[in-house]
């Protein structure tokens, strides 16, 4: 009974969770997938922790929309890259410069990888829609 109650409470909490909508633009190739990670802290943002949500979305156009429901309202940062050749990694050249498209929330990173704080945004209780440009 207690367990059931807990599940009901959880559902109730979910009912108040927010949806993050990402309008992703500027995909240069119509192939592969966009790999998206949503982070709650700098460690996760810097590949040293677990993202709160991840998505892999097939690319068939130069833009696409992704919705990520059931997130608690609060501060997040999004990072993504376009794995155009589906090898599950961001390909780089020998000096570590990405050869595939990438992007961050707030569209920071035009000069290279930003810090978590620069990419941080607040997800409101009513949900938030971000437009992300892929560099």
């Amino acid at each position: 009974m207690k367990l059931l109650l807990a599940a009901v409470l959880l559902l109730a909490a979910n009912a108040h969770a927010a949806t993050l909508t990402l309008d992703i633009q500027g995909l240069s190739k119509k192939s592969g997938h966009v790999l998206i990670a949503v982070h709650t802290n700098a460690a996760s943002f810097n590949d040293k922790g677990k993202p709160v949500a991840v998505r892999s979305v097939e690319v068939t156009d130069s833009k696409l929309t992704v919705t990520i429901p059931d997130l608690a309202p609060g501060d997040y940062a999004v990072s993504l890259f376009h794995d155009a050749n589906d090898n599950n990694k961001l390909d780089t050249n020998i000096i570590g410069i990405p050869k595939e498209g990438y992007g961050f929330s707030n569209n920071v990173g035009a000069r290279g990888k930003p810090r978590f704080d620069e990419a941080k945004f607040t997800l409101g209780a009513d949900g938030t829609t971000l437009t992300l440009v892929v560099f």
């Binding site: 050249n93 020998i94 000096i95 570590g96 410069i97 990405p98 035009a110």
Partner: protein, 484 residues
């Protein structure tokens, strides 16, 4: 016409120390406008113009002198942070029996094209995202003919290919998919077989940065490349070679990705680290010996050679990295603010154990040029711009030949309102340093750029030929001479 008459003939009585020479039609203002050297060209092209020629350019100099340098330093009221950030413009001086012409054109880089279109600096903003090194590429440092194309060289990304006739940009030089857009210095060194060595530094790659090494053919093929970890993310602009080694002198100017510190930030200078020399075996680019020197900073090298159990190399040696941290305003003001010039110095680098040594000459010098017929071997003559510490002369109008073996200095002074630029050596006889010196200078009093030719063994006699352009060009860095 003797040379003294020649100098007077161009209204340069100041140069020859003779007050009775004819004056130019427009009386020059007394104070030099040093800012001319850093004034932006605001058109894409400087259309061909004839220069006024006095004297006669020797046949050996019939050909084209190409020079590169930052031609645009501001947009929409905003100035570049550092002189080195200006957009590259290539100048072509064509010398023929019928005269001397000049034309110039900006290298049409990604950055230049887009910021021209936008009318302002926008790189690295959402409006003009920067992808990879070539987004920042200004292609502004030097030029080299490779495979029938003129390469406009930078150091942190690709060379750009240009049409040597029209100076139109054809695109980046992509040696291979793997080597596209990676750092490639502006100072390739010729090997005796006609191929070239080059290097590049990527201080942000790997743990402490990567050093790239290249060997390419004169017809534009990559023959060999390697990449090695750097001991720390230090800086080098050019390098030296001996018969068996490549010598990269890494200044303790440390790029720190975590702290957002680049080589242009004053806090990057960490003299406690000392200067490190990476000695690379030409026969096996993965064999690198690391040696230490006292802390100091070098842009350019002269002769270098093997001397038994050690290497010796001449360099223009600065005691610190201050030049990397100057604003354009400070460049215009010039010396006199406690910033001593580089001194021609001999670096002694033991191949075995032990610390290296610096022996400084008394000569302030930059833009060293040596006889290309003695690559990697002991030589004497260094052709330089001679830099004094005289604060009354904030910029140097003096060129010199410094014979380091014999100790002689021969000099020519363009005069107090003139800034001398790099002068190239063109061989004409069998002796080391026998030939012609060809170079440009900017007259900041009269507002002309000039091209002059000297007998390289008798600079003090003054130019044998002098071409005066009806325009002043912003100061450039390095050039190459193409015969024919």
């Amino acid at each position: 016409m003797d040379r003294r008459t020649l100098l007077q003939g161009v209204g340069a009585a100041l140069l020859a120390g003779c007050a009775s020479g004819p004056r130019p039609a427009a009386a020059p203002s007394a104070a030099p406008d040093w800012a001319l050297g850093w004034r932006s060209v605001t058109t894409d092209v400087l259309a061909p113009v004839e220069a006024r020629v006095d004297g006669r350019f020797p046949d050996a100099l019939h050909g084209t002198l190409y020079r590169n340098g930052p031609g645009r330093l501001e947009r929409a009221g905003q100035r570049v942070r550092h002189w080195f950030d200006g957009d590259g413009m290539v100048q072509a001086f064509r010398v023929s029996p019928s005269g001397v012409t000049h034309h110039g054109r900006f290298v049409s880089t990604f950055k230049f094209q887009n910021e021209e279109r936008l009318g302002r600096y926008a790189l690295g903003t959402a409006e003009l995202p920067a992808r990879g090194n070539d987004a920042y590429n200004t292609a502004n440092t030097s030029v080299l003919m490779v495979g029938g194309e003129l390469l406009a060289l930078w150091e942190a990304g690709s060379a750009y290919r240009m049409d040597p006739e029209t100076l139109e940009t054809r695109g980046t030089k992509d040696w291979s998919p793997e080597l596209t857009g990676v750092p490639f210095s502006a100072h390739p060194l010729p090997e005796r077989d006609g191929s070239y060595w080059n290097f590049g530094l990527a201080p942000y790659a790997g743990e402490h940065g990567l050093m790239l090494l290249y060997r390419f053919s004169a017809d534009g093929r990559m023959l060999q490349s390697a990449h090695l970890p750097m001991p720390f993310s230090g800086y080098a602009h050019a390098f030296a070679q001996t018969e068996r080694h490549l010598v990269v002198v890494l200044a303790p100017l440390v790029w720190d990705r975590e702290r957002d510190v680049t080589w242009f930030d004053a806090e990057a200078w960490q003299p406690a680290l000392g200067t490190t020399v990476l000695v690379v075996d030409k026969a096996d680019l993965t064999r690198v010996v690391r040696r230490e020197l006292p802390a100091g900073f070098v842009f350019h090298f002269g002769h270098a050679w093997e001397d038994g159990d050690r290497l010796r190399a001449y360099a223009c040696w600065y005691e610190d990295s201050h030049f990397m941290h100057l604003s354009v305003d400070q460049d215009i003001r010039g010396r006199g603010k406690g910033l001593p010039p580089a001194r021609l110095a001999q670096l002694e680098i033991p191949l075995g154990a032990g610390e290296g040594r610096i022996t400084r000459s008394p000569h302030g010098a930059e833009f060293p040029v040596v006889d290309p017929r003695v690559p990697g071997r002991r030589g004497s003559a260094h052709f330089v711009t001679l830099e004094s510490e005289d604060t009354a002369r904030p910029h140097s109008g003096v060129i010199a030949r410094i014979d380091v073996e014999r100790g002689g200095v021969r000099r020519f002074d363009y005069g107090p309102g003139v800034i001398a630029e790099e002068h190239l050596f063109v061989p004409s006889g069998p002796r080391e340093g026998q030939g012609w010196l060809l170079g440009t200078s900017l007259d900041c009093v009269r507002g002309h750029t000039r091209l002059a030719a000297f007998d390289a063994e008798h600079l003090e006699d003054g130019p044998v030929a002098l071409a005066t352009l009806p325009r002043a060009l912003p100061l450039g860095f390095h050039g190459t001479f193409l015969k024919g």
